[in-house]
């Protein structure tokens, strides 16, 4: 289960809205306690995919290096990544699966016509053959 704190969630949705109709991407930082992950920070990143970004994203590894350092300084972990699906549902596509890593939480935010339209989280299997839905809690769903 991943729980995203209010400020981190706001950063994620704001980034997804600001990038619409292109895909956004970013990094989630937080704590791991058994099977529960709590994302206290979200880092909005540039989408560096060279091509049409309406349905593709790529993280800049330099942003990941910076996030890894930041997480370690705070005694936290990089929990995973988020990206948006403009005018598409929040599913984990074959492209997402192929370009993911196991263990990490992958939160997909659906934006339709410039408005938030749902989110889901997924974790890829060790062999990247499939991805399982991960229970996701964010502020709006708890209010």
């Amino acid at each position: 289960m991943i729980r995203i704190e209010r400020e981190a969630w706001r950063v994620m949705v704001d980034h997804a809205l600001a990038c619409f109709p292109k895909e956004c991407c970013g990094i989630m930082i937080g704590a791991v306690d058994g099977d529960t992950r709590t994302a206290s920070q979200a880092v909005p990143c540039a989408n560096v995919y060279e091509g049409d970004q309406k349905d593709r994203f790529q993280l800049d590894p330099k942003d990941q290096v910076a996030a890894e350092r930041k997480a370690r300084q705070l005694g936290l972990n990089v929990l995973g990544f988020f990206h948006s699906h403009p005018n598409e549902d929040a599913y984990f596509s074959a492209t997402d699966l192929k370009n993911s890593w196991p263990w990490y939480s992958n939160v997909v935010v659906s934006i339709r016509d410039g408005r938030f339209s749902g989110a889901k989280s997924f974790i890829a299997s060790e062999d990247q053959a499939s991805a399982a839905p991960e229970e996701l809690h964010y502020y709006d769903s708890e209010s």
Binding site: Q64, V65, F81, Y91, D96
Partner: protein, 94 residues
């Protein structure tokens, strides 16, 4: 010594260590020492030809080793290598 920062998904192969210190004069030597110490890491970092997998990035301090001297990039004591997963995707079906 060279510090190697291990990303969370690979810590299961390093006895849950998040950082491993190794000796090595080049990136190749340091990663070789790392994978000798933790053999299960090898298939996650290198392909069958022994080259770094395309979805694995290695940064020496702030630079991608692919834009330096790759495996033969020289290291100095106190350098930090960070193993960075390549992450991409999107709603594109193909």
């Amino acid at each position: 010594m060279i510090k190697i920062l291990i990303p969370t998904p690979l810590r299961q192969y390093t006895g849950h260590k998040d950082t491993v210190e190794v000796a090595g004069a080049t990136v190749g030597e340091a990663l070789g020492t790392l994978t000798t110490k933790f053999p299960d890491l090898r298939r996650n970092l290198f392909n069958e030809q022994g080259a770094l997998r395309s979805f694995v990035n290695v940064y020496l301090n702030d630079e991608d080793i692919r834009y330096l001297g790759k495996d033969s990039t020289a290291l100095r004591p106190g350098d930090t290598l960070t193993i960075v997963p390549s992450i991409a995707g999107g709603s594109h079906a193909g």
